[in-house]
């Protein structure tokens, strides 16, 4: 390995390291392969696996949103579960009380969360680093209790939560597939629906970070003073990052409510916020494709550790997490870079 290669593995300096924007995404070939796999796999697996894949995409979106905030603009948040909850409840309430079509509830959820995030971003401007993390932590702790409040109970169902009806595939699609002797289950439909939205948001996010706004965010992340002296409106971009992140989390929350068919305050506790944070770190801070690797980690690793030992599942999970952080501190991104280098060497 040459010295130049060594530099590729970024050395840690600040809390959120500077990720060059090119390195935030995957190559076109890899992206297409992954997309094809995501399209084809559900045709051959059980509904349960499809459901797990749906959850993977949804959690992936939520981690992605956090990644834009932390990896993009360098702000920490432990409050993503709160925005996820707002999104989930918005979708659930609109579907169950107002009979709105499930697809239409998502933009509403996203918009509402964008506004909520933007507003929360205002006071958050004065805080940075651990203090911001703490403020968002408060948001996450407060959310389940707010949802239980008697005042909202008529809408939220209080502690009992709300049951959401799972959508069927649209009739024209169903009849078209029937003609081909194919059946589409509810799970499969929800999966493809989620996939389309996830891909759209992913592509949009990648473009966002490559755009002028993305460059401004990264400038803020790397050095706020330098960014402001270059003419970047630091306050505006920081709050915008909060808003965008919350908005995407809200859409993920709405999708989550549709896929799980149930919302309750206990689903959106601080533990969930920490899981998302964990997913981001495991996936690699600032590396967008890593979000989905991180999501896989928070969904599947608890199951694996449980199968190893029921009584000590928490401890086993801790050991696995420790191993990941110890061996690959930059998460999936580091693995990907190492893989690329390896492939490059073989080519030579």
């Amino acid at each position: 390995m040459s010295a130049a290669d060594e530099v590729e593995v970024v050395t840690e300096g600040q809390a959120v390291e500077a990720v060059p924007k090119r390195a935030m995404t995957l190559g076109a070939g890899t992206s297409l392969t992954v997309l094809v796999l995501l399209l084809v796999i559900p045709l051959f697996v059980k509904n349960f696996i499809i459901f797990q894949m749906t959850m993977l995409l949804i959690y992936g979106l939520a981690v992605l949103a956090l990644n834009i905030l932390t990896g993009g603009s360098g702000q920490f948040s432990l409050g993503q579960s709160a925005f996820y909850a707002i999104g989930a409840y918005t979708s659930a309430i609109l579907m169950e009380h107002f009979n709105l079509n499930y697809a239409l509830t998502l933009p509403v959820a996203g918009l509402l969360c964008f506004v909520a995030g933007f507003l929360f971003g205002q006071p958050a401007l004065r805080l940075s680093g651990v203090y911001l993390a703490l403020a968002t932590f408060a948001l996450a702790t407060a959310m389940p209790q707010l949802l239980k409040l008697g005042y909202f109970e008529h809408w939220t169902g209080g502690v009992q939560g709300l049951v959401v009806t799972k959508p069927d595939a649209p009739e024209y699609l169903e009849s078209a597939l029937k003609a081909l002797h194919l059946n589409i289950s509810q799970d499969m439909w929800v999966y493809y629906f989620t996939l389309v939205i996830t891909v759209a948001i992913y592509v949009w996010s990648v473009n966002l970070l490559r755009s002028r706004s993305g460059r401004a965010l990264m400038a803020i992340r790397d050095n706020e003073i330098a960014a402001s002296s270059m003419g970047v409106n630091v306050a505006l971009y920081k709050t915008l990052a909060f808003g965008v992140s919350a908005g995407i989390t809200g859409v993920a929350g709405g999708l989550g409510a549709i896929a799980v068919q149930f919302v309750a305050p206990d689903s959106y506790t601080i533990t969930f916020a920490i899981s998302l944070f964990l997913g981001m770190v495991v996936g690699g801070v600032g590396w967008l494709p890593g979000s989905f690797v991180g999501a896989a980690f928070i969904i599947f690793v608890p199951n694996i550790s449980e199968s190893i030992s029921k009584g000590l599942s928490g401890a086993v999970f801790g050991v696995l997490l420790f191993l990941v952080i110890f061996l690959v501190p930059h998460g999936a991104r580091q693995v990907a870079i190492a893989g690329q280098q390896l492939a490059g060497r073989f080519r030579r």
């Binding site: 059980k46 209080g158 009992q160 799980v260 206990d266 689903s267 009584g311 928490g314």
Partner: protein, 406 residues
Amino acid sequence: MRSCQLHAAALAAAAFALTTGNALAQKKYDTGAGDTEIKIGNIMPYSGPASAYGVIGKTEQAYFDKINAEGGINGRKIKFISYDDGYSPPKTVEQARKLVESDEVLLVFNPLGTPSNSAIEKYMNTKKVPQLFVASGATKWNDPKDFPWTMGWQPSYQSEAHIYAKYLIKEKPEGKIAVLYQNDDFGKDYLKGLKDGLAAKASMIVAEESYESAEPSIDGHIVKLRASGADVFVSITTPKFAAQAIKKLAEIDWHPIHVLSNVSASVGGVMQPAGYENAQGILSAAYAKDGADPQWDNDPGMKNFFGFLAKYYPDANKRDGSVVYGYGVAQTLVHVLKMCGDDLTRENVMKQAASLRNFETDTLLPGIRINTSPTDFAPIQQLKMMRFKGDKWELFGDIISGELSN
């Protein structure tokens, strides 16, 4: 009276023989059952905020180990698959789907928690897989018309509250009741039960205060309740707050009739920390025997229970009510599966579960029986009042039924 009981027993035996006889002729199986094995699924919070209840799952596993070691149920071994949901509803959904679609269990037995069970209720009923004997005291599990595949087990909070209402109407008809309740499904369900039970006498309640489970102290609420001039204090609280309330009452020298919900009736968990001297005379109700109470040491049922613990689950804490609970509910399931004979279809499991007649587990208080019918999905509805004296509970009075009229 005696002959009447004999008759009933004979009839039950005949009916049992008939059903098994029928089933012998034709072995019928649904997914998850076969000639050698019955797959039972379960979801427990082994991790997370409610992980103390994980003991229930472990006890059930140990009980099924015992059944398997003794030859299984009608020759079939039980394969018990228990997953952790960390008390998080989305995870419960994932685990329930894994059990039904991937592990292909015959039924999901005793999943724990009101929110977790609410999350999977619709799914289980659409899939027509029994969600049998759920571990939650919510009243909603007794709804055979809308959810014919879901059944509770323990007395519902409302049933228990009915019993206190009956007692208070009888013993303290002119009483003024102050209620402290936890602001969640448990507290609200309970309060509703109390009011329904008091019915026309609901005006006996002169003050209501709710607290959040996140509040550090409930002292303020107690002082407020005292100011209402009440002489009966109903404490619908979870253990930590129950102990606080007992202490505070002694501190401000307020001595009303103190009724305490069964969930907090633990001697080790509530009475001891609150101080035995402060807890004298507190009233509550129970349906199961207390493993720590020496009065059951020579009870044949509890001897079975202790024997089981010694052999199959030696590191269990017999003072822990969850162990007694897990044993009792697992015993009920085994009884239902025995009744199913060779017709191990999901439909028959529900049918047999809905036709329990005067079934007694080793751990139920003497005289308390499990009864179900196609329109009654609440297996245990009876409790016995008890009063705290010295360092233990003393049972008194008759068995009271808290049956809810739907």
